[in-house]
């Protein structure tokens, strides 16, 4: 492992706000679903498949877009050097409920394909060409201790050179994405990637 894992950048999307590295960068009223579509337009992502995704994947794609914006990530790393470790509490329940409602009239294939929470990892990986280590966990709450230990293990075993990790959760009108980009760094005055910092950043309240 060359360098110490640090938190290079982090972002939060929740309650009609986008916060990047502690600064509110976008705010717009509206329902959860409409907010995601507005953010998509605002970020000018140009990814036609976006509208076909379920809301969990939309949230994940947008959060990854916000997180990686301006990082030169694509130029710095090979496809297999980025880890993607996510978690949430509702799994894919939001789309599970919608899919269940379609079964009687004729099950919808396009909803069915999203009835697993780790599909959000697949969608982010397709969008950004990631082919590295990945895993999705379902917890009651964000667990910075588990996340730090799991990701550190990947770094220590030289399986990754950077990692996007965090929480992407969506159910009905409740949504919250907190993503961290962890990279190896030798510079001082950087935010160390550890459980305390993950938990602190996750708990920050932006009103």
């Amino acid at each position: 492992m060359e360098g110490i894992p640090v938190i290079s950048t982090h972002c939060l999307i929740t309650k009609n706000k986008i916060i990047k590295d502690g600064q509110i960068i976008f705010e717009h009223p509206g329902t959860a679903g409409s907010f995601l579509d507005i953010v998509y337009s605002h970020l000018e992502i140009h990814y036609p498949k976006f509208y076909k995704m379920d809301n969990l994947c939309k949230l994940g794609i947008l959060a990854a877009g916000v997180l990686l914006h301006g990082t030169q990530h694509e130029k710095k790393y090979k496809d297999n050097e980025t880890g993607l470790i996510l978690s949430n509490s509702h799994g894919s329940l939001d789309v599970d409920v919608k899919y269940a409602k379609t079964i009687q009239a004729g099950a919808s294939p396009s909803l069915f394909v999203y009835t697993l929470p780790n599909i959000v990892i697949g969608e982010i990986s397709i969008r950004y060409h990631f082919k590295g280590e990945n895993a999705f966990f379902v917890f009651k709450d964000f667990d910075g201790n588990f996340m730090a230990e799991y990701v550190m293990n990947l770094f220590e075993n030289n399986l990754i050179k950077n990692c996007i990790c965090g929480w992407v959760d969506y159910f009905e009108e409740d949504y919250r994405a907190v993503l961290f980009l962890s990279e190896l760094n030798n510079q001082e005055n950087t935010l160390i990637f550890n459980a305390d910092n993950l938990n602190k950043l996750n708990q920050m309240d932006y009103g």
Partner: protein, 85 residues
Amino acid sequence: MYKLKEQVIERLNLKDLKPADIGDDQPLFVEGLGLDSIDALELIVLLQQEYNIKLSNAEDGPTVFQSIRTIASYITANSTEKVST
């Protein structure tokens, strides 16, 4: 075929498109509209629900779903409902 285009847009969540954006003979898959295999399944469900047509032979799929016009022709040939143009 306008109605069919509306149904395809609605069913496949092609929110960036309007019926006028889809040519009658424009290929729907790969180099055309860029639809994928899941979209093909969704189109099969659309035929069942909206026109009560079951695609009996899966091998017919590529021919039937080649364009809006080929879908419309298939509906016309297999349904009592007419496709408005």
